[in-house]
């Protein structure tokens, strides 16, 4: 039987596709765009993550295990011999690791400067050789090893290929750079053997590193090689028993998950947006197939009469969907790869998100992911075809043979409950807690809300138009348009499904971004109360010494200086680091919650950021223990502040307490208040002159206005991709309106012919179509905006807190929403007129005789 169906199906498909190439092409395109977006986002993300991961792995030298200091200030090096002697450890390699930079660093938002950041590593080459061979230098002679590359030669440095390329230096040249607040000048002895092509890092001898960086007695990590056949879990347990509070054990998996966690929320959200584009494509396929099925209903009826079984009919439509899906998926994959290529070259691997600084993304073609996205496209196309196919198969052929136009019956009331049920289910899911730290359920809820909104369209259109339909209009075109829209809400919803979906998404994104932007702007004003700011880049290992601070404070024209020491702390092995900010003076942060209770005795008052509270579950008023400078300290959580800058958490301590606890007197940042009448430019120049020459390249001065501008610029850039995705979704939606509308117009040729015969003028018909279009557009806009606002609430109140662990205040961009609605109405009306012109140009007389 299958063979029977396939011969007939083949004939019918070929005929249909010859007859309607444009509509089929558009349906294919809709799927292709969805698949392309999803695939492109996936490719870009995995390329960026891959290169970021490779770069991180290079810096870490691919050790089996690593014991890492929780803070950049390092841990006691005497842990090294203790670890080296543990059973199950074949070798241990102590490592000094600090952030460093060469040349003048570019300020965020300004054009790139002749400088950059890199990781400076000090190793004992003889140990690194066994544990992390990637961190071993090759001398100019090309041979590896101690014999030819004496790593402990003083004054020599080995650079990774990426760093050699970035600096433009060659072995033998002098490399001048800044690290730990001091300038250094070393001769490049060669390049690193196995550090990959992505990581910017440089290696010197560990003794020299400790001397040059003032890091005596401290190392940042100890890399470990396990003995052959050693039980990782048992060894890890033994290591764990040895570790002081300022060290933690990091596994390669943990490091990978840390790299993953850095940008996971951002990537997942982008991926979801891409899937939403695919969903819009699915609505388009549904509407195209529904129209096509409606148009071919008599044909299907004839086939049923001639003996085509019901499942043959469903099969034919599904095969159509399959072909649509296959073609769309194939085109989508090619398109997606090209798009990803463009995006990576244009925006970089994080699409401007700022997560993978310094990593060079490399695009691959992952077959499994390609299959998955092609499969998604296919499923979408099949689902879009299945619904109309089942509907077509249910129609009794004898009825359909009578051929009553597009089968509308104004007497039937569209059902509202399926849409309402979907909306209710969607609302429920949207309020569900996160899965695996991601707002997966909220996204599922959004999809249901969207489907519910679209399903509700016929009832909504009927409800909205009911008053108009009762009144009617003396002007014939308007009257006809209203009655058509009121009488055929299903047809209207077919035309509108795509546009409602994409408008809703656009509105949701626009509202979310506007809210976010407004909140960030308010926040920037709150956190930048001073007149001038100084930040030292890559200075975690050591910033400005007290003498330098005193020189800065003595610069004329200053009314005050608030010094700050920032360093990152790793609280959990698989989590990105938390920022510890020791601030002098009053903390200038917008507090969300606070306690007025005094700090208990023996505790240090701390303010934590919103993500910190979310990620680590710290509550206002609690006392928590944190390892600072190797000793556990009791912190009293005095308040929670809003922070959009540090997604993975931040803790503010009074600078005096930090100095008391750690003995670290350096600072990395400072805020300056100017004396009345002082000239900011002159003061900045004086401050710059007061800085030690070694850190001049790392010092970045900023003024609040400019910093705010740059921050918002970065914000806008990181959402540029989001805007692009939205625009594409809207375009797909509009194309959907155009195709379905023109299809409906063509299907109504006989109606127009009849109207012409009884004396309705051509202009009047065009007016009628334009009004129908405008009416559709209006209904779509109203529905889309309403639905979009609901989705925006989900994004603002659920998705963002769950993904990024911060909250924001809702802000509505009214002009944008109004403009969007107007554009939609105009576009729908225009499309209707264009389609109408074409249809009426063919001559209504022909239409009366037309068979179908």
């Amino acid at each position: 039987m299958a063979g029977v169906v396939s011969v007939a199906t083949g004939w019918l498909l070929a005929g249909e596709w010859r007859a309607q190439p444009l509509r089929m092409a558009l349906a294919v395109l809709a799927i292709a765009v969805g698949v392309a977006l999803g695939f492109a986002v996936h490719l870009v993300n995995s390329a960026a993550l891959g290169s970021f991961g490779r770069a991180m792995a290079s810096v870490q030298g691919r050790a089996d295990l690593s014991v890492r200091a929780v803070a950049a200030t390092g841990m006691d090096e005497m842990l090294y011999p203790r670890l080296a002697r543990l059973p199950g450890i074949a070798a241990a390699s102590p490592v000094v690791e600090v952030a460093a930079s060469w040349g003048a660093l570019a300020r965020p938002g300004s054009p790139p400067a002749a400088g950059g950041r890199f990781t400076l590593i000090g190793t004992d080459f003889l140990r690194a050789m066994r544990v992390t061979p990637g961190l071993i230098g090759i001398s100019a002679a090309g041979l590896s090893g101690v014999g030819t590359a004496p790593g402990w030669l003083q004054g020599r440095i080995w650079l990774s290929p990426a760093l050699l390329g970035a600096t433009g230096l060659k072995p033998g040249a002098h490399f001048r750079f800044t690290a730990a607040g001091r300038g250094h000048d070393l001769i490049i002895a060669g390049r690193l053997a196995g550090s990959g092509t992505e990581a910017r890092l440089a290696v010197i001898d560990i003794a020299e590193a400790q001397d040059r960086l003032g890091q005596w007695g401290r190392v940042q990590r100890i890399d470990l090689k396990l003995a052959e056949g050693a039980d990782t879990a048992a060894v890890s347990a033994r290591i764990g028993a040895l570790l002081p509070p300022d060290a933690l054990l990091a596994t390669p998996d943990g490091e990978a998950s840390r790299a993953d966690a850095l940008s996971r929320a951002y990537r997942v959200n982008l991926g979801m947006l891409a899937l939403v584009a695919l969903l819009t494509g699915g609505f388009l396929v549904w509407s195209a197939q529904s129209l096509s099925v409606a148009r071919r209903r008599p044909q299907f009826a004839l086939l049923a009469v001639l003996g085509l079984p019901r499942r043959g009919l469903v099969g034919q439509l599904l095969i159509e969907g399959l072909i649509l899906g296959l073609a769309g998926a194939a085109i989508g994959l090619v398109l997606g790869h090209a798009l990803a290529d463009l995006a990576v070259n244009r925006f970089g691997g994080d699409l401007g998100g700022g997560y993978f600084a310094g990593a060079q993304a490399r695009l691959a073609f992952p077959p499994l992911a390609a299959l998955a996205f092609a499969g998604l496209g296919l499923v979408t196309a099949l689902a879009g075809s299945l619904v109309p196919a089942l509907a077509a198969a249910r129609v009794p052929p004898a009825l359909a043979l009578k051929g009553l136009g597009d089968g509308l019956d104004p007497g039937r009331r569209p059902r509202a409950w399926p849409g309402l049920a979907l909306l209710a289910a969607g609302t429920g899911l949207a309020m569900a807690p996160p899965l695996a730290g991601l707002p997966i359920l909220a996204y599922a809820g959004m999809a249901l809300l969207l489907a519910g909104g679209v399903a509700l369209m016929p009832a909504l259109a009927r409800a909205l138009l009911a008053p108009l339909a009762r009144i009617g209009s003396a002007w014939l075109p308007l009257d006809l348009a209203i009655r058509r829209l009121w009488g055929a809400p299903q047809a209207a919803s077919l035309a509108l499904s795509g546009i409602v979906a994409s408008t809703a998404l656009m509105v949701a994104m626009a509202v979310m971004v506007a809210s976010f932007r407004q909140s960030v702007d308010d926040w920037l004003v709150a956190v930048l109360p001073s007149d001038l700011y100084l930040h030292l880049e890559a200075a975690e290992a050591g910033g400005l010494a007290p003498a330098d601070q005193a020189r800065l404070a003595a610069v004329p024209g200053l009314a005050g200086m608030r010094p700050q020491r920032v360093l990152s702390l790793r609280l959990a092995a698989g989590q990105p680091a938390v920022s510890l900010m020791a601030q002098g003076g009053h903390a200038a942060v917008p507090l969300l919650r606070r306690t007025t209770a005094p700090a208990p005795a023996g505790t240090t008052p701390a303010l934590i950021s919103e993500p910190m509270a979310w990620l680590y579950g710290w509550q206002v008023g609690e006392v928590r223990t944190l390892a600072i400078a190797g000793r556990p300290q009791r912190l009293h959580v005095a308040g929670v502040w809003r922070d959009y800058a540090r997604q993975f958490g931040a803790i503010i301590l009074p600078l005096a307490d930090y100095r008391r606890l750690t003995g670290d007197q350096t600072i990395t940042d400072a805020a300056f208040d100017l004396a009345p009448g002082a000239d900011a430019g002159r003061v900045e120049a004086a401050l710059a002159a007061a800085l030690p020459p070694a850190v001049a390249g790392q010092a970045q001065f900023g003024r609040p206005g400019e910093m705010r501008r740059v921050a918002l610029q970065i914000f806008d850039r990181s959402f540029a991709v989001t805007y692009a995705l939205e625009a594409i979704a809207i375009i797909i939606g509009l194309v959907g309106v155009a195709t379905s509308f023109s299809a409906q117009v063509l299907a109504r040729l006989r109606e127009f012919g009849m109207l012409r015969h009884i004396g309705v003028g051509r202009r009047q018909l065009l007016w009628m179509l334009a009004l129908e279009g405008a009416g559709l557009g209006l209904v779509g806009a109203v529905a889309g905006v309403a639905l979009g606002l609901g989705l925006a609430l989900v994004l603002v109140a659920v998705v963002n807190p769950q993904s990024f662990h911060w909250t924001m205040d809702l802000a509505l961009p009214w002009p944008l929403l109004a403009g969007l609605a107007a554009a939609l109405v105009a576009c729908a009306a225009g499309t209707a007129v264009v389609a109408g012109r074409r249809a009426l140009g063919q001559g209504p007389l022909l239409a009366v005789r037309a068979d179908w």
Partner: protein
């Protein structure tokens, strides 16, 4: 002379103030068993033949346990515990005829942190879990691990020390400054365990320290140390130039009664022969050289047979050289043969 592994550290030798080797310096023991950190390099080199203690008929295997100390000078002062000048390198190998090739392992570390050091005053040199030391009982002890097999050996002296050259001053080239302090300890009786099973055998300790060793024309050397069955000990070496001609040669013969003869360069005649090509490195090694020496105005010829041809040691991945160090037999004795500089010139 020996020994290559130091070459691995050699090129970095700056013109630092190393202690010079001078003739006429009397060796003192046990202090000279210990380290001489002022010199550029030194080694403790144990080679021997092993067999299971219970089964005298079982096939013998060769073993080599070597510790090197090299001084890498540093400029200026440092506050870092890592800023030590001494690097300890150790190498161990087992030659089982049944295996057909060497199994070997290395350890290397800069001294410090209690993980690696060479003691002054008496023999005690360690790197990580490997150690070679002289016990209170006067015996030497070694602990190394090769390919999962622990070697725990004790070496009991049966004869006095053998001072090479002139009272321990051993010239290696035409210039008197091309020399080392050199003594050997032949006929050491081995007891102990290999992978937990008792073993027995005979070993040879070579001890040298120096700051300047090789003539600039030299590309490598050949060395042979034999424990003779009659209780005698024969040492022969030559330093080669690029053409394979001897730049210098020497050695000694001590008979069972302790009478020692030191050879002059013209009393040793060493010709490369018995070439074997390594399938791994492609290098060719003369593993059955034709060697003659003149003892009491009589030229003696010895026929050298390697335990197996493949005793090539490739430590290049660990920063060391490619060389051949193998157990050999001669009629009436057995010991170790060392060949260096055949794959590429050794730089010292």
């Amino acid at each position: 002379m020996r020994r290559r592994a130091l070459m691995l550290l050699a090129p970095l030798l700056l013109a630092a103030d190393f202690a010079p080797v001078r003739p006429g310096v009397a060796l003192r023991f046990p202090a000279d068993h210990g380290a001489h950190p002022a010199f550029r390099t030194e080694w403790w080199y144990v080679t021997g033949w092993l067999r299971p203690a219970a089964v005298t008929s079982a096939p013998a295997s060769g073993t080599q346990i070597t510790f090197f100390r090299t001084r890498v000078p540093r400029a200026g002062t440092s506050g870092s515990r890592f800023a030590t000048e001494q690097v300890i390198f150790a190498h161990a190998a087992i030659a089982d005829p049944a295996t057909g090739r060497l199994r070997h392992a290395t350890r290397i570390a800069r001294s410090g942190f209690g993980l690696a050091q060479a003691r002054e005053g008496d023999l005690d040199v360690a790197v990580d879990d490997w150690r070679l030391w002289r016990g209170r009982d006067g015996r030497l002890h070694a602990h190394v691990v090769v390919a999962g097999e622990a070697l725990d050996l004790a070496f009991t002296p049966t004869q006095p020390l053998l001072l090479q050259g002139r009272g321990g001053y051993s010239q290696k080239g035409p210039s008197p400054s091309e020399a080392s302090h050199y003594y050997s300890w032949p006929q050491l009786r081995i007891s102990g365990a290999r992978a937990g099973k008792p073993v027995a055998g005979t070993a040879w300790l070579d001890r040298e320290w120096s700051s300047t060793l090789l003539n600039p024309r030299a590309v490598g050397w050949d060395w042979l140390g034999l424990n003779l069955d009659d209780g005698g000990a024969l040492t022969l070496f030559r330093v080669r130039d690029r053409q394979g001609q001897a730049v210098w040669a020497g050695g000694s013969h001590r008979d069972a009664r302790g009478k020692t003869v030191v050879f002059q360069p013209d009393e040793v005649d060493w010709r490369a022969a018995g070439w074997w090509r390594s399938p791994r490195s492609g290098a060719r090694w003369p593993v059955g050289p034709q060697v003659r020496y003149r003892l009491n105005n009589q030229w003696q010829r010895i026929e050298i047979k390697p335990l197996m041809p493949d005793q090539e040691l490739d430590s290049r991945t660990g920063g060391g050289p490619l060389y051949w160090e193998g157990a050999v037999t001669v009629p009436g004795g057995r010991g170790y043969l060392e060949l260096t500089g055949y794959a590429a010139p050794l730089r010292m």
